[in-house]
Symmetry: C2
Subunit: 401 residues, 2 copies
Amino acid sequence: MPDKQRESGRRKLLDQIRRTGPIPRIELSELTGISRATVTTITAELLQNGLIREVPRESAEPEGRRGRPRVDLKIDGASHLVVGAKISNNLISLVLLDFSGNQIGTLETEMTRAVFEAQELANVISNAVDQLAQSAGFALRDISGVGVGIAGIVDATRGFAYWSPSLKQRNVEFGNLLTQTLGLPAFIDNDANLVAVAEKTFGLGQAHSDFIVVTIESGVGMGLVIGNELYRGTRGCGAEFGHTKVHLDGALCRCGQRGCLEAYVADYALLREAMTVPGADPNVDPGTRIEALLSNAKAGEATAKSIVDRAGRMFALGLANLVNIFDPQLIILAGEQMQFDHLFADAVIAEMRKSIVQIDKAPPEVVIHKWGNLMWARGAAAYALDNVSEIALSGLNENAD
Amino acid sequence: MPDKQRESGRRKLLDQIRRTGPIPRIELSELTGISRATVTTITAELLQNGLIREVPRESAEPEGRRGRPRVDLKIDGASHLVVGAKISNNLISLVLLDFSGNQIGTLETEMTRAVFEAQELANVISNAVDQLAQSAGFALRDISGVGVGIAGIVDATRGFAYWSPSLKQRNVEFGNLLTQTLGLPAFIDNDANLVAVAEKTFGLGQAHSDFIVVTIESGVGMGLVIGNELYRGTRGCGAEFGHTKVHLDGALCRCGQRGCLEAYVADYALLREAMTVPGADPNVDPGTRIEALLSNAKAGEATAKSIVDRAGRMFALGLANLVNIFDPQLIILAGEQMQFDHLFADAVIAEMRKSIVQIDKAPPEVVIHKWGNLMWARGAAAYALDNVSEIALSGLNENAD
């Protein structure tokens, strides 16, 4: 069997066992389309290298049947540990997973500030990973890989951060820096991409090969899954949604350009408009002001309603454009719902449906999925799991040579 | 070898031979990664069924070497003929290709009108295909398949036209209707998609796995190639660009909605604005008026320039949004250049570059590619070639059962 085919067979089987194990060999062959003989060969390798193990079948069949005892295969959870981390504004959130994907620990700590020198941020992450490992009874060296989601423009394949609101510098080889600081393989990606990975691995995306995740935090992010694969653009950093333009020469965006979607729907955009109202107090903290704005809008106060309604309509316009371009089966709106109620409203979804090309076909399903920061971190951990599996499997390849 | 693997091997080899033949078997194995033994088995099948043939190697090697005479493989051009057709406003353009992709005839005729009952349009196409076949010395029954590109929203896989400006009815099984009318397999797709297929098969896309084609005619179309495959959306009709919104509650579009890109850049949008100028004569024909507008703009006349410049800036905004979302290697702007000079201008490309997310990375290459209607028809023929190959290969499969 050519090397490439064997490699892809190993990856397929490991993924399948992780998703559906404990599972008998014959079912693996049926689900993956890999021949029984090859399943036998490859699973023997995986067993020998401790990535999976055999467990007795829990069966409804009567005891005492003849023949060999029946066994299923499952991931050996203890074979590798991974950590996923999500960097938010002033918070770092981490989860520790075993090789089966079971969550065995979490950690959330405030950071002293929101923007760091690259090495400083690497140190903050490294310390948090260490602390999480220890709290679960492990050492840093027991971890096989760390995935990190940050906001901004990231070329994940190269571990390269073109720009992130969390980093003072532009163009940082942050993946490498983090790997050196941790002494462990580290993998970075745009945070919204990792929410899409989390949905694919643990969430609503498990049943869909093609979907769009739109995330709303202080910015607007997007993760795009096409044919079961995360779409990263042809040059590493596609799927940028928050800075698509919804108005020529429109409102000023924090990125310096005009008319970006974020310049209409982000918190700062709402606050900027709210400050126009005579008597608005700039000394009240932003969180309180945004809450007041949203509750005034809900109560029907005209100006507040006008501000919030336009944000919703602009968001609907952006979503409609995504639907026209991708014709997705499913759109997942992911965020902490409370804060973004106004964007997740039925009226916004209805406006989106009116703004797509009107043909006699059901519009895509839109699902709202509440995510705390720890769920974003699970996406980062799932990404680490993929990469660590890849490393473990390529190790097998070298042994086979 | 499992059936699926054999099927995909046949398709790969046939494609490779069409692209690079005449070619020796050993090189086929190297280029496709298919083992030499399998190449030998599959090409024997293809030979036996007359899809390819052997030709003596034209070689620089000295004559008189021992061993078997060396042969290359090439497509047997005569084994199948296909026709591609492009339906424009009042014109039908057709090309006749042999199975190697060589063009052996063309036909272009005016149609009596622009909008047809579905059966009428099927008759028009059928008559034109018949006429083209006869003019090249063949009969309709000698054609193996016909590809047709029409404007509108088409689910190509089902041959289903949700809506087309060329059809009076919505929701027409136009592929089936055309197949029945012709008595030959017919395949329909959105016309801009077929320009992307043409670029992939014959044009600039041959050297790129991922690119976007934006077409400008009376409307704005898009074809999207990701990983060497045409992207059709997850539900059959994605990549709709002309009706993405560039302005909330903006200019009225012919589709009935407001703020679509087309409502700013299409001919009718320019003319609508030009009519605002006092003294504009509604009795002058649209073609003449648009020419006057564009030449006045070039001459620096302020109002004309304002109209044309805004169209260009809106077009740049739309392109920038595509770049942010897809991060493509290459954008091909395809159309008959003369008429769309103003949208293909350096200033428009520069504006697009300013409007994408600014990171330290070269913006995608933008190439302008003039296309007459016959080139669009070649795209439709390439699509027919793919489908006819598929049918021929699945025939082999049935024989093998």
